[in-house]
Subunit: 168 residues, 4 copies
């Protein structure tokens, strides 16, 4: 399996700069695709994302949000999302999935063929998409999935290797 | 005690026409003042309002929402509220508290001196404001309050009375 | 309707002396029939009974337990019940329904034709059985039922009346 | 680290025969030390044990109960435990920790220096005790711990190896 394609994102909120899967290589990455007006996202996905942030160290797991607006485009604007992030005290980076010029689905959502929101994407330390979970995911099951992924070996840092010889 | 002042509302959503406390005289009325981006309103107030709608008959209790926007005015617009009502499957009338020309607080919120959202207002069968409850209200306590109010006698329908003699 | 028959109880735990419905005349009385090894009683009934104790004043509502053992008689003994009451920090009186000499059902349970546990019995201020609720009862509904019962007038204290003339 | 000592158990309920940690070598083992009259065990530990049984395969995780009676000895008898197991529909093996002749603490509880109930013991595939968790454990954290343990390599089955050559 090869590394998953990068997200196509109009802007990252709650982040110091652009976020990329490539830059997170070496960590497990959990991405919550959500919409701020999706009840299951608000009652289940966002609180679970915050619990994830507490349960794992930053060095082993990165938690991201991805605002995949596929309905009510006129009101789920970047400004509305910003207010939502503030009120729900979300402290992880949230990307705004790039709107399409031709259809309702934003680009990353279409590219990853998401079925709706909430969807949880789990990427391993190599950047490979390992799970795409639509709907409610039980904490115990999610913990188990992530525990296994975190236990996998991190990739060799190829920048430190040359002709197969690696230095510190 | 006298009947409470009418709400100052820009528009009623989910209703066939304007709603007034006067027209509801004879019923107990529970009004949830909320904001669509207020986490406690979404996780607690709205679900409780829906349970209320199931637990009492329409002939004895009316449930209303009142969208009292006092922050994030630019994004909690009537169109956004309409989408929220649709997604959260709210089936009771929701009034939009009339924005002020001079301050952040909408007119009804200011008039009733609400402390924030969610706030639950309980009016008795005479239209008198009997409880103004800010924050989380336990189901058992709320049921007890409403059970007592519902048990009170309905007002004599004065339109049917003349010189103290009432006919059917 | 006339006052309900007294409970047939082998012993009262958590009480200073025998408890009788007659002595509680004037208050609403909520009685939880339960078994200490009944999962629904432990997860739902007992916690709700404790919430009831907090939500209403002692002058208007009395909360009682009734241990109606109809299975596992050998292990749901008075001593086991005493330990249960201690561990679950139950602070209202609990009667032990009088075992039958001839069958599995204890006497009060048989007399009141209870369908199982948990069952909640609600008596009004006159001592009349008004509700017999088998299984899980939602807090909002229970609050409403009790709010209405509490709102009913207390009985005239006939001991203070003579030939229709009542003194304080 | 070496394999943990075996449990000292008076009897195993819900099992076809004696259960031993040695016989489970190669699997991760989660053991809930509980008492049937311990509220936190009943409301939290037992339901979580059942969720664990659903979330992991039998080939990778074994779930056991250990009834560590250190109070109310007279009523938390094997017969009472049997009724408890029946009523709470527990379908994993439960060992009765061997009572002490000299003190309140049963032998395994004393040996493992458990602080109380519920306590969750996690053994790795080598039979080494890796976690001893007293009190409430969040599902997400527990899933993560077990996911990591399950991801560890199973021990080489030394009985199948001779002079470093292993056959099936």
């Amino acid at each position: 399996m090869s590394a998953a394609p990068e997200f196509e994102v109009a802007a990252w909120l709650n982040a110091k700069g652009p976020v990329s899967l490539a830059a997170l290589r070496g960590k497990v990455v959990a991405v919550y695709a959500f919409q701020m007006l999706c009840p299951g996202c608000v009652s289940h996905g966002i609180p679970q994302a915050k619990r994830l942030r507490q349960a794992f160290g930053r060095d082993e797991l990165e938690v991201l949000g991805l605002h995949t607006v596929f309905e009510h485009h006129a009101v789920m604007t970047p400004a509305a999302l910003q207010a939502f992030i503030h009120e729900y005290r979300i402290d992880f980076p949230v990307g705004i999935d790039q709107p399409s010029n031709t259809g309702a689905l934003p680009l990353t959502m279409a590219h990853y063929r998401l079925r709706g929101t909430p969807t949880l994407l789990l990427f391993d330390r190599q950047g490979v998409l390992r799970e795409q979970l639509f709907g409610i995911v039980e904490d115990l099951r999610l913990g188990a999935l992530l525990g296994r992924l975190v236990a996998e070996a991190a990739p060799v840092d190829t920048a430190r290797c040359n002709d197969g010889v690696c230095h510190i």
